[in-house]
Symmetry: C2
Subunit: 342 residues, 2 copies
């Protein structure tokens, strides 16, 4: 009898998640939402609890040759807080588990926690638990974040309606371009250790890659403005891929406009320097951790003047598809690129 | 300027946890209990939510040369459910994050999830999220478990009072002895691949190591009998170490009796075969995931006849210390051995 062997790369990350999810049955009445959004939603009788988790591995998600440990600690918390923000919830607690090889000293662990505590302070979350263990090789960081929201505040991926306006916060593509710069400078350094990398002029893009910020500021502002997005998620895999997620979950299509896409000047210039198409960086670059959300047209006037929210397009019927209208007026079908982990 | 480097092994696991915890300030009113018990306790306005997390690494926590993947999946869930049980809470949800190298096929992931789902079924928990990513080398599993309890049901480590009775469930030492057998058979196999290991006769001890059970049955029975332990934790690092934790958190001492310690016949016989002292296995063997708890004397009659709860001693004043009274009547001071991860 020969056993079947299917490579994970044949399925891809999303295929693997589908495979895992399809046999999952929910049994508890306290489980309002399981796998399939930025966070799970649980009901213990008071406010709803949202839970999200991320696993970060050295050599896969970060490279310690150019990542300062405090930045890494901050980022590990921020990316989880970003998932809580994407549910329109307020983060309250995190757990942090670490696996450390003997390469790491107590001082190195302290440097990592310095960043973790800085993020806890910035986002107002409490570090309430975790696990520490030894590792044979690299550093592993597993963070779980919890948050609270009232039922009427929660934003799922599935709530976008035809004619809703598609919004993104901040600017996109910087983290991808920053990663390319860091990788380039690492290669330069490896081939000539006397070269000192000049990263000053790339501070915006490398900063976005190394120490991204979760947009809790936007979540608090939306509450003050009394706007509840109809759908929301954070942009971790790239704008194009996330639009696919919202369209699939909501059963809708979308049209976005190239001239509305937000890109920082340094991101644009650095992309050009690297022979990358800036719009491709915006559409497919992951890890910016900005928010993508949809609002009802009636809420537009409340956000219209916001300096950091950009209105990039609108929701259409599913049969109208998903398109990017270029500056020349051509409609190009979107592709769900996303990150390829496997 | 020379930078100071302190090895993690100088601090040990508990020292490292103390180091991490000491700078942690809790800011949220929803955080009732942070680091320092089997699980954190959160209040969202309804029932209390308890949260616990564990990180398992190949080569550190498990050896795939003798661990079937479904057993591993089951164990990863069970050890987290055991932490929830140790709070006297009912587990409700888990998240499971995996890092997989290309050594693992889709079928291997499915085998792992078969065990995860079996544990979800057995303990009535919902798999509500996680993260899947690639790994450069070994398998990494990070599980977070959530549970619910009413405030008056929760059991902390800190509630033991003088004259309370110390209880343990099941029997102890089996997981440690099982691990020794599995390691021995692995070495035999490595030196002669034609040798087929005879594990049948060690089924109890190897089964405890490979697929331990969380004692949710006891938690449900305690509720039916209307007994709320004054303190509780699960035995993951060894009885002696856990008694130290309860005594420290509660500000008490303890006396236990060798002739009351529960050990399975197979554990005893196998320990002798391996030239191990059976009582040392009971006192310092970890990973049995039985429950250690204290009850008020008034509750003794409710549990007295329970076939799987053993009354091993009692709580004393802190200044009376922590002692094991041997069969010959000698009082031996307990040592907090525990597992050495680093």
């Amino acid at each position: 009898m020969s056993e079947k062997r299917t490579e994970i790369s044949e399925l891809g990350e999303f295929g693997l998640i589908d495979q895992i999810s399809k046999n999952v049955l929910l049994k508890n009445s306290s489980t309002l939402k399981g796998i399939g959004d930025d966070a799970a939603v649980l009901d213990s009788g008071g406010q709803l609890t949202v839970v999200s988790t991320d696993l970060l591995l050295e050599g896969v998600h970060f490279d310690l040759s150019y990542t300062p440990l405090p930045h890494l600690g901050f980022k590990a918390v921020a990316v989880n807080v970003s998932d809580i923000a994407a549910m329109n919830a307020i983060p309250t607690q995190i757990t942090v588990s670490l696996a450390l090889s003997n390469r790491f000293s107590v001082e190195a662990v302290e440097a990592l926690y310095q960043g973790i505590r800085a993020a806890c302070d910035q986002y107002g979350v409490d570090l309430v638990g975790g696990d520490t263990t030894s590792s044979r090789s690299g550093l592993v960081i597993s963070v779980t974040a919890l948050g609270l929201a009232k039922k009427e505040q929660l934003c799922y991926r599935s709530g976008a309606k035809v004619n809703d306006i598609l919004c993104v916060t901040g600017d996109l593509g910087a983290a991808l371009v920053g990663l390319q710069i860091l990788e380039r400078e690492k290669q330069v350094f490896l081939s000539n250790p006397n070269m000192k990398p000049d990263l000053e002029r790339y501070a915006v893009v490398t900063g976005r890659q190394l120490r991204p910020d979760a947009r809790m500021d936007i979540i608090h502002e939306l509450r003050e403005l009394n706007v509840v997005p109809s759908s929301m998620m954070d942009i971790s895999d790239g704008l194009s891929s996330e639009i696919f997620h919202i369209c699939k979950a909501s059963g809708v299509g979308a049209t976005i406009y190239e001239d509305k896409l937000p890109i920082d000047k340094q991101t644009f210039d650095t992309a050009v320097e690297l022979n990358l198409d800036p719009i491709t960086c915006v559409m497919n670059g992951g890890e910016d951790y900005e928010l993508l959300f949809t609002i009802d047209q009636k809420d537009f006037s409340k956000l219209e003047k916001h300096p950091d929210i950009h209105f990039i397009g609108h929701i259409t019927k599913a049969e109208e598809g998903k398109y990017l209208v270029t500056k020349s007026g051509t409609a190009v079908a979107l592709k769900a690129q996303g990150w390829i982990h496997f």
